[in-house]
Assembly symmetry: C2
Homo-oligomer: 346 residues x 2
DNA sequence: CTGAAAGCGCTTACAG
DNA sequence: CTGAAAGCGCTTACAG
């Protein structure tokens, strides 16, 4: 059913040359007479010939395809990430074979192994703190790879990461400088590397800048429903926080929703901030203060790092690159009457 | 640099069988002794063997990969679409080769042709009204395909579409039944098929239900900025509409933003509705009335339609399937004091 | 049940 | 500059 396909032989016959010559002409090799090249091109065009990819990559050992293995394909983050990767892939004439493993480490292994013979290199994101061994096992085998937001120390694989720790500290500094003192934190998934780093940033900031305060941490899992739950929990607490820092924007929005429903004013009654700067953050009311992560750029840089990687043996290459997020101050932390910082904790 | 790779020969040698047997064992063919199968499996496992995909698909003529060619990869819509496609692909053990052509018809052709020998079937979305010939040219060649939201009459290619026309009429019926009479429409891109159908639904609804009114159409291009512009234009008009129907949610949100900035109350001063039900729509204030399109389901059904397609020669198969969107009434069209329908236009 | 061999459609040294 | 031929790593009739 898959139809009769035109092969390089048909083109050769029509152009009256050998298949070798067709191959050379079509691949733009130098050593082909202009006249012959023309004949080949018209023959190929007339026959609507298009090279068979599997055959080509089997003999040339190149696929011109990059494998992208992600935890998921869904949502703003992955959408922007794919966009950035895709842009660079197009610039370089590369294809993208995507695979998501839905948070299942076993599936991740399957996905990774299935890439053999299909791709020239791999972009892998695995934001888990355990699965380290599994990942290392499925990666170390002769395929260039770049890791994204992935904690895999010692494997020597180039890694690009958002500076989640530094970003959380920057945001905390902003809150503290704005006079907030009772700052609650809605955490992300326990096993998530980014979440872990953001939490660490929050904890260290509290310890250093507000030594009298104890960290106030609510559980969450990065989705808006858990932010909503955390928001309700905060509403029910005897003494409310004066600011809430959610480990990502989706949870911040869920929390905002809970506050709205309860009639609580943001930032008047309580300030709120998130992390990621998803597009929504600009549009909700009040607009959300957050740490902007340029995910599109992040994806693009990852692919470039993979493609432009220096020779394996160049030991001077940094193995980890950190991208700093940017503080975006919006209405949700701009109280009309900003509180005064207490003098005892400047 | 690509490293030493283990081939089927290495496995054969280690298991002391022929490559043919290895192939059969690994592919789960019946005719292999259990003992031999075991030997082959352990050998393969010990060597961390993983079959070379290009070789396999060159000889078997199957790739176990589906090509997905979309206008873009970015944004909520494509994200959800990919999610739906991906879910089904996983169920069936298929890979996805994605390609977006960024609205460029030429690139679309390149992308389509590049799929040869890489995929067993194609999912193609091409929401343009012109490019019909180019698309037909690049499709008709012996590759099973399913079209998504694509207008390509006469090519006999199965097509799945959102019922944009019917959806627009449903929404208009809701607005009219709610008592709104001066209903403006923010249109989508001129060349876009979905936009065209939604506009047609609006026009027909006005003509039939409000024969005294003339259509009031503002240009837009589906992004939030154009909705914002349209909103400002409406604010400047001498007599404001009592309701605005934007051809998609993003524009509705841009419009809402403009109204908010101007201090206009929605729905008190003017009602507002969109199309798509993007997640944001539930969270803005006021929440947005819209037509819900289950895009994830849409993507999943498209892939299923491709995989479960009956034999080519079965003429009883419908070539076009329409998916009806669902009306979601939220705050943005729920005026506190609903207007009375004028008796002359019940 | 198992093996030897042909063949999938290309690319690429190797000759000329 | 061009061609004949080997080879990429598999699968699959064809024998046995």
């Amino acid at each position: 059913m898959s139809g009769v396909n035109i092969t390089i032989k048909d083109v050769a016959r029509r152009a009256n040359v050998s298949v070798a010559t067709v191959s050379r002409a079509l691949n733009g090799h130098e050593n082909v007479t202009e006249a012959v090249r023309q004949r080949v091109f018209s023959a190929a065009h007339e026959l609507r010939y298009s090279p068979h990819h599997a055959a080509r990559s089997l003999s040339s050992r190149r696929t011109r395809t990059i494998g992208v293995v992600l935890p998921d394909l869904y949502g703003e983050f992955f959408s922007e990430l794919m966009r950035g990767i895709d842009q660079v892939a197009r610039e370089r004439g590369l294809h993208l074979l995507v695979s998501s493993y839905h948070g299942n480490p076993e599936e991740q292994g399957v996905a990774l192994r299935a890439m053999r013979g299909r791709v020239d290199g791999l972009l892998v994101m695995s934001p888990y703190l355990d699965n380290v061994d599994g990942l290392a096992d499925n990666l170390s085998h002769s395929m260039p790879a770049v890791l994204l937001n992935t904690h895999l120390p010692g494997a020597g694989i180039p890694t690009l990461s958002i500076d989640n720790y530094g970003g959380a500290r920057t945001l905390m500094r902003h809150l503290i400088e704005s006079g907030y003192r009772r700052i609650a934190f809605i955490a992300g998934p326990e096993d998530n590397f980014d979440a872990h780093e953001r939490l660490r940033g929050y904890g260290d900031a509290i310890a250093e800048a507000l030594p009298d305060a104890k960290p106030w941490i609510l559980p969450g899992d990065f989705d808006e429903a858990s932010g909503h739950r955390a928001g309700r929990e905060l509403l029910a607490s005897k003494q409310r926080p004066d600011a809430v820092f959610a480990a990502n924007d989706m949870m911040a929005l869920g929390c905002l929703f809970a506050f709205n429903q309860a009639g609580l004013q943001v930032p008047g009654d309580v300030a709120l901030a998130g992390f990621d700067d998803i597009p929504l953050s600009r549009y909700v009311h009040p607009s959300l203060t957050t740490m902007r992560v340029d995910i599109t750029e992040f994806g693009g840089r990852a692919l470039r790092a993979l493609l432009d990687r220096p020779e394996q043996d160049d030991a001077t290459v940094p193995t980890e690159i950190l991208l700093a997020p940017e503080l975006i101050v919006r209405e949700s932390t701009r109280a009309e009457a900003p509180r005064q910082a207490r003098t005892d904790s400047s």
